[in-house]
Symmetry: C2
C-alpha cells in the first residue's frame, strides 16, 4: 500500500466496522495504509482488504501517530476515551458513536443535508444515529420547499443496529421457537423473534418516558437541519427484521403540499430513490433496502387530518447509509474524493 491516506478503522470487528472496511474497498477510497483496531479480544484476528489479510490491533495502547483518518465505530464510552488521544496525535476522526454528536463544536453530518458543516478543522466529525439519517434526508428537501411545522415518526428498526449478537439472538430465538425449545434472551430485554419491542436502547429517568433512541432522533434531526426548535416526536420500535430500518413519517407543513409535488422534489435528490406504486405492490421494504446505498421513499400521500399534511414510508440499510456509508461519504466530502461506483 502506497500513495493515499493512512486510514484506520476502530471497532473493525463490529457490524458497522466490517461494513466500513468493505465499503472502503468497494468505493475505491484512496487508502495508502489500513490499520484495524478493536478490543483486545479480537487482536490478532484478520480481515480481508483488497485481497490481503489485515491483522487487527488492540485499541488499548495503540499509537495513533501517522494516521490521517479514523473511521470510528465502537461504543460511545470507548469513543469518549480514545478519540481525544487520536485527535491529539493528529488524526481526523469520523465517529459513528453517540459520544460527540451533540457537542456544540462537533459537526453532525449527513453529506446530502449539511455537507458544508463537515470540515477537517474540527478534527472530530460525528455521524448520526441510524434512524436519524434516512429521516433527515427526506425531511430536509421537503422543509426547504414547504416549511415543516411538525413531524411524528414511528420506527420499525432491524436488529442489526444492535450489533452482531443481536442478529444471532433473533435467529437463535426464531429457531428455538420453531423447534419448541427454550429461547435465549440476552441482548434484548424480551423476546424479539415474532414480536415488536417498543424499546430501542434505554429509558433514562430524565427523558420523561422517552427512550434514548427516541431522544436522539429528535435532537439529532434538529441539529443536522439547523432548526433547534423543530417540532418532532418519535416512537422507536424494534421489529424482528435482520437488516433495514423502516419509518412511518407524518409531516405537517407551513405551505400547501401535493403528494405528486413532494415525489417530484425528492426523486432527483442524491441518495434517495422513490418507490411509490402501491397498487402495483411497489413501496419501500427493509429487505429491498438492505444492501442499497439509497434511502427508499414511498407511500407518499396526503394526510387529510390536518392542513398541508403528508404521510410517507421509508426504508434504509441502517448499517450502510445509516452508519458505515454515511461516515465514508463524510470523508469523501471532506477530502474531495469521488467514489468509484462498483
Amino acid at each position: 500500500m502506497s500513495d493515499g491516506m493512512s486510514v484506520a478503522v476502530v471497532g473493525a470487528t463490529g457490524v458497522v466496522g466490517t461494513e466500513a472496511v468493505a465499503l472502503l474497498e468497494e468505493r475505491g477510497f484512496p487508502v495508502g495504509s489500513l490499520r484495524l483496531m478493536a478490543s483486545g479480544r479480537s487482536a490478532g484476528e484478520t480481515i480481508g482488504f483488497r485481497g490481503k489479510d489485515v491483522t487487527i490491533e488492540a485499541l488499548a495502547g495503540a499509537d495513533f501517530a501517522g494516521i490521517d483518518l479514523i473511521f470510528s465505530a465502537p461504543g460511545a464510552s470507548v469513543s469518549l476515551e480514545y478519540v481525544p488521544r487520536a485527535v491529539a496525535a493528529g488524526a481526523l476522526v469520523i465517529d459513528k458513536s453517540s459520544a460527540f454528536r451533540m457537542a456544540p463544536d462537533v459537526p453532525l453530518v449527513v453529506p446530502e443535508v449539511n455537507g458544508d458543516a463537515a470540515s477537517r478543522e474540527t478534527r472530530i466529525i460525528a455521524s448520526p444515529n441510524c434512524s436519524t439519517i434516512p429521516l433527515v434526508m427526506v425531511l430536509d428537501p421537503l422543509h426547504r420547499r414547504f416549511g415543516i411545522r411538525r413531524v411524528v415518526v414511528s420506527t420499525y428498526q432491524a436488529v442489526s443496529g444492535a450489533g452482531q449478537k443481536a442478529g444471532d439472538e433473533l435467529i437463535g430465538q426464531t429457531v428455538a421457537i420453531l423447534n419448541r425449545r427454550p429461547m435465549p434472551i440476552e441482548v434484548f430485554p424480551h423476546q424479539i423473534a415474532f414480536n415488536c419491542l417498543p424499546q430501542v436502547e434505554t429509558f433514562d429517568p430524565g427523558l420523561e418516558g422517552y427512550s434514548t433512541e427516541e431522544q436522539k432522533v429528535c435532537d439529532e434531526t434538529r441539529k443536522i437541519m439547523g432548526i433547534p426548535d423543530l417540532r418532532i416526536t418519535a416512537t422507536c420500535v424494534r421489529v424482528p427484521v435482520v437488516n433495514g430500518h423502516s419509518e412511518s413519517v407524518n409531516i405537517e407543513f407551513e405551505s400547501p403540499v401535493d403528494p405528486a409535488e413532494a415525489r417530484k422534489l425528492l426523486d432527483p435528490m442524491p441518495g434517495i430513490r422513490i418507490v411509490d406504486s402501491p397498487a402495483q405492490g411497489e413501496y419501500p421494504m427493509a429487505v429491498e433496502a438492505s444492501g442499497l446505498d439509497e434511502v427508499l421513499v414511498g407511500r407518499i400521500r396526503r394526510d387529510f387530518s390536518v392542513d398541508n399534511g403528508l404521510n410517507l414510508w421509508l426504508a434504509c440499510d441502517n448499517i450502510r447509509k445509516g452508519a458505515a456509508l454515511n461516515a465514508i461519504q463524510i470523508a469523501e466530502r471532506v477530502f474531495g474524493i469521488d467514489p468509484v461506483r462498483s
Copy 2:
C-alpha cells in the same frame, strides 16, 4: 344440548371462527344447540365443543330456520350474500366481516365504547376491524375527558389477521430463509418473514394512496365514537409477528393532559390493562397480549411537539378482542349474559 340459544358459527374453520367456538365454551355462553358452517370444502369435518364433535355443514344452501344467533366470520363477499337470507329466516347476525360495517342502519359496536348502539332490532350488528377495536377502546375514554383534536396512528400488525394460510406462510418463509431455500410467496404480496410490508389489504384507486385497511381504521373509528369529522390518519403495516397487533398512537387533545392523568383514567376501564413501567422493561408487547382478553396500553408520555399531546403504544390479541371475543361480547351485551370467567 338443551336450554339456551340456538347458535351458529359461520366461517367456523377460519382463524376467527375457531376462536369463536373456543370462546363460546370458555365463557359459558348459553348455547342450547350449536351449528357450524363453512365452505363446502370443509363440510363433514368436525370441531370439538364441550367435549363433543360438531360436524361442519356447507354454508351454501344451509337452512337458517330456528337459529337465534349467528357469529359470522367469513369473507365480506360471503357475508353480503348469505346474511340477508339468515336474517330473513329470523337469525340475529353478529358479523365480523367488513360487509355491513359502514351501512348507516347497521350498528358497529365495541361494547366498552358504544355498547348501547347494539340492539336486537337491527338483526345485523357489525364487529369492527381488528386494528380499530383496540384503538377506539383507548381513544374513547380519553376523548370524553380531554377532547381529541387529531390522531396519527401507525400499526404493527400480526399475520394471523390475514388467516391461517398467512401464519403458515410466515413460518414457511422463515424456515426457508434459515435453510437458504427458495421461499413461498402466495398470501402476501412480498416476503413477510424478517420484513415489514406497508400494505395491509389492498390499494383502491379511489383511496388516494391509502390501503383499504387504513381507510377502515379511520372510517370505523369515526362511526364507533360517533364523531363523523374526527381528524385521524393511519399507516397500516404488516410485521413478521404470528399473533397480536401493536399500534403507535399519537393524540392531540383540546385540553391539557398529563400522562399520569391519562394512565389513571384508562386503568379502571373494562378491557384495558395498563403496562407502563418502561424503565423496568414493562410495556405492551404482541407476544404478551396474545391470548389475553385485554388491550395492553403503555409508553404513555407527553408529546412535546404540540400543545396537549400524548404518545402511547398498545398491543392486543387481534383474533380475540380484535375479532372473536368482541363479537361474543356484543352478544353477551345484547342478551344480558354474564360470561363465566375461566
